[in-house]
Subunit: 275 residues, 2 copies
């Protein structure tokens, strides 16, 4: 792998930032707030930030870069797809449980649901994430989609995945903002910068830094899973297939030469190499 | 250009979404809020969302995709760089004026500055954006940087630009959230979903949609400014230079063959093609 040490530094940083974010979320609700419980009260609401940051931020980020880990390159692509989809499923499950906690708390306290921008964008992200997961399973994991369909869908899948990840982080920042203004109204107020406010602001910064590291790792083409099959010729440099394009996801199921030798001029191949 | 009609559809959508966002911001402050003035009162604060959405969201987005517009491909790359840098400078200027409005309002009303997560991430984004602009001028616009330095910096420049754009949108969403909770406390409260709340939530959704369209356009390799010089050979497919790499920004100043024929194996070239 080119730049392996640098990759390792980024990967360790991602793990540290993600792990720290989860620890900060736990300290926030356990030390500064009402703890965790499933009782229709604030302690039930508190599952929301903990599960979102654990699942929808940390685990989603790891799911995104799982193909990049060089020590997994000996594993079959099919196994890696299972791990990729599995981690995303865990992330989605935790996100759904965290939504149930909020709705349950709101209903118990007769607080309206779905009125804030945070809730609008957050619920949309969860729905689109579930759709992305189902479409990913149908197109890339199950042996039913044609090579050409996979080639068309791949750039959209990659773009949507990264966009959803960014949107989830933006939504988490809105959620942190909401919660701090709700809870730190007076004595102390948020604007007086009490210890809790500083602590949770730092949590927000950690989440942004985690997102930045994951997005850097995910968009470095030379850190992709390497080629298994190298074209001997192609017609136009600058639209050449990237490593992952050549090692197409369909090859696990369809190893015919036509699939491997498909035109590197296609838009889709070029698009795939963008991520 | 491949897929010109689709490109046009995306570009028109971006313009519409960006323009609508600015209109929504204006309607928000002029119709629902205190209007615009420079008087140390809320009407001065209101310049903040208007200038951020106009400059730091809309104009920044257009600055990012300005190289993609096919009707500019006849222009010299140097002219396009001037336009790119010029638009970013306008965006930064409006962002700075919008910050002055907030600090001025806070100071007049004796409200503390820089306590919220919104302010932490927002000010960091403005500072990094200014740094990005200065570094961009020094490395890519002025004829002082070496080819190898430009090759190293380009992927970082592109990644930082897109990350900052995303961070600015996330910060805008936090700002909208803050402002709605501040202003819609009682009669009506935000949670009772009055007309203003729905209207401004829609503004948030428009901004996210605008960001999504810009990021799609910016990351499609086949929509890049085309090659001026095509390498006849390169050693490893999957790390081939993209269109913009071959039409390196340094070529405007340094047209020596060495620069054009630099190794397509370099990490940096591969990284550049990721955006």
């Amino acid at each position: 792998m080119e730049g392996f040490k640098l990759f390792l530094a980024f990967f360790v940083s991602a793990l540290l930032l993600g792990f720290l974010s989860v620890v900060f979320a736990l300290v926030w609700v356990l030390h500064y707030r009402e703890g965790l419980a499933w009782n229709g009260d604030l302690a039930e609401f508190n599952w929301h930030p903990v599960l979102i940051i654990t699942g929808f931020v940390f685990i989603q980020g790891i799911a995104i870069i799982v193909y990049r880990l060089p020590w997994t390159w000996k594993c079959s692509k099919f196994l890696m797809k299972l791990i990729h989809a599995g981690l995303h499923t865990v992330a989605l499950t935790l996100a759904i449980i965290s939504l149930v906690a909020v709705f349950d708390f709101h209903n118990a306290k007769k607080i309206p649901n779905m009125y804030s921008l945070h809730s609008w964008i957050g619920l949309t992200a969860v729905i689109l994430y579930a759709l992305q997961l189902v479409l990913g399973l149908l197109v890339f994991l199950l042996p039913i989609a044609s090579t050409s369909l996979r080639t068309i869908v791949m750039p959209i899948h990659v773009y949507s995945g990264l966009l959803l990840f960014g949107s989830v982080i933006a939504t988490a920042l809105m959620g942190i903002t909401e919660k701090l203004f709700f809870t730190l109204k007076e004595n102390p107020s948020y604007s007086s910068s009490p210890e809790e406010a500083i602590f949770v602001n730092v949590l927000g910064v950690l989440i942004v830094a985690y997102g930045a590291v994951i997005l850097w790792m995910a968009t470095r083409p030379h850190w992709k899973r390497p080629l298994e099959y190298i074209f001997q010729t192609h017609e136009r440099i600058g639209e050449g297939l990237s490593d992952d394009d050549c090692h197409s996801p369909d090859l696990e199921f369809n190893s015919d030469a036509a699939a491997r030798k498909r035109s590197p001029k296609s838009d889709e191949a070029g698009q795939r190499s963008a991520m």
